[in-house]
């Protein structure tokens, strides 16, 4: 089993997401069966906006939607550590 990060979303049971960046955070949430919100999936609409309470992500695309402090766009970022977020 390859390396994973632990992610807690909306106080649901913790899920594991691949640590190798092979999936966007949004894809990883979907793969774990979490109901996600999105439209564009490329970082410009902001529909996937989520609150990051703990942990670190890295953007693989330039975000165009407005991101306020503490928010992330899961459709274009990958997990860089264990995370706690509201989606």
């Amino acid at each position: 089993m390859s390396e994973t990060f632990k992610v807690r979303v909306n106080q649901l049971p913790v899920i594991e997401v691949p640590a190798d960046g092979s999936q966007s955070l949004l894809e990883a949430l979907e793969a774990a069966g979490i109901e996600t919100r999105y439209h564009c999936r490329t970082g410009f609409c902001g529909a996937c906006r989520s609150k990051l309470h703990e942990g670190e992500v890295e953007y693989v695309n330039d975000p165009l939607a407005y991101i306020r402090p503490g928010e992330v766009l899961p459709c274009i970022c990958i997990a860089k550590s264990d995370l706690i977020l509201d989606h």
């Binding site: 439209h39 564009c40 410009f44 609409c45 902001g46 529909a47 330039d62 165009l64 939607a65 407005y66």
Partner: protein, 376 residues
């Protein structure tokens, strides 16, 4: 302050606010206060499409097979969208260009408005295919009660801002009496009007299209009106980008460093902003009721459509710092998402249904001989 098309004051563009600073002079993008707007311009240009690229001819058969209530839903939505894009194809230019102070934002506004004119042209493209004379459909737009009611609400914030800007630019601040009515004109009052107008435009881009979009995509789910649906997907992608731009403007006022007076105004008029948003939501729900007054269509009814409006309204409200007002936290129409994903919406030349693929290509007469041995 009189508008000048080339303001000769030497202002520092990096110190100007988005609006109500000095009018823009040199259209330069080497130094930018808010570089996001240039990124939005690039994105919008990369989305460029033409209605004629999408072959809608097969929709005619589908349309003829529709029930009367489905025809009512389909045509009413097109009328409403025509109204929205008629307004959006001109109003950002007329209302915002006279008061904008940053070149990157000025050019974004022009690019945005231009893309709305493509939307307007696409409705004629769709209707020409369905009717030998689409005139009646267009004529009804200014006579239909339901549409007119919405038009009033959509245009009034723009009209108010435009009129007061004209007063200010011709008379300056002060009390100005015209036809026995006295208007109290100050820059602060103008900024308030701008703030309300931007909130109204934001609500338009955020939710006013989505009842129509949902109907279009519900037809597409049944493999009906697919040419039309392809066009609406391209429109939806553009609208999402427009929405991002109004969200940026509203957030830059509230959270970013732009104009401290706009930050105060945003706080002062928070309730009004909320009210603009929630009344747009109510109007959309009434629109859903009007659409389904003669009967619903397979896959959609008024209730579920209203839930969808509430669901996206919550997302859009949070995006501009307002508290979500509705209980609908899960997506009642999950299939909507696949039509809103940007990657799925490429207009590809190899697709059989596209009649004339001319983007980025010279539209000229080419004889078969010019292709030599090419096998097309």
């Amino acid at each position: 302050m009189r508008y000048s098309t080339f303001n000769q004051t030497n202002a520092n563009p990096l110190g100007e606010p988005m609006f109500f600073g000095n009018p823009v002079n040199v259209a330069r993008y080497d130094q930018q206060r808010h570089s996001i707007f240039e990124k939005l311009i690039e994105k919008q240009l990369s989305f460029f499409w033409r209605p004629e690229e999408v072959d809608v001819s097969r929709d005619r058969v589908d349309f003829q097979a529709m029930t009367d209530s489905e025809k009512h839903i389909f045509i009413s939505n097109l009328k409403y969208q025509t109204l929205l894009d008629s307004v959006q194809g001109r109003s950002p230019n007329i209302a915002f260009l006279p008061i904008v102070s940053l070149p990157e934002l000025e050019t974004w506004i022009e690019t945005w408005s231009f893309s709305e004119t493509i939307h307007s042209r696409s409705y004629t493209h769709i209707l020409r295919n369905l009717f030998s004379d689409p005139g009646k459909v267009f004529d009804d737009i200014v006579m239909n009660d339901q549409i007119c009611r919405r038009a009033t609400d959509i245009s009034r914030y723009y009209d108010d801002l435009i009129f007061h800007t004209q007063l200010w630019q011709t008379h300056g601040e002060g009390d100005i009496t015209i036809d026995d009515v006295t208007y109290h004109v100050t820059v602060r009052e103008l900024k308030k009007k701008l703030f309300l107008c931007m909130n109204s435009v934001n609500a338009l881009e955020a939710i006013r299209f989505y009842v129509s979009f949902a109907c279009t995509f519900a037809f597409a789910e049944r493999e009906m009106m697919e040419g039309n649906s392809k066009i609406i997907r391209l429109i939806a992608r553009d609208e999402n980008l427009h929405l991002t731009s109004t969200q940026h403007i509203l957030n830059l006022w509230q959270y970013g460093d732009d104009d401290p007076e706009m930050k105060e105004i945003a706080e002062e008029l928070r309730e009004e902003a909320l009210e603009i948003f929630t009344s747009a939501v109510e109007q959309e729900k009434q629109w859903a009721a009007y659409l389904f007054e003669n009967g619903s269509m397979i896959g959609l009814n008024k209730e579920i459509l209203c839930q969808y409006v509430e669901y996206i309204a919550n997302l859009r409200m949070q995006a501009i710092g307002l508290d979500p007002q509705y209980n609908q936290t899960s997506n009642p129409l999950p299939w909507m998402n696949k039509y809103l994903v940007s990657d799925n919406v490429q207009v590809a030349p190899q697709e059989a249904e596209i009649s004339s693929y001319l983007v980025g290509q010279i539209d000229s007469e080419v004889s078969a001989g010019d292709f030599g041995d090419f096998d097309l």
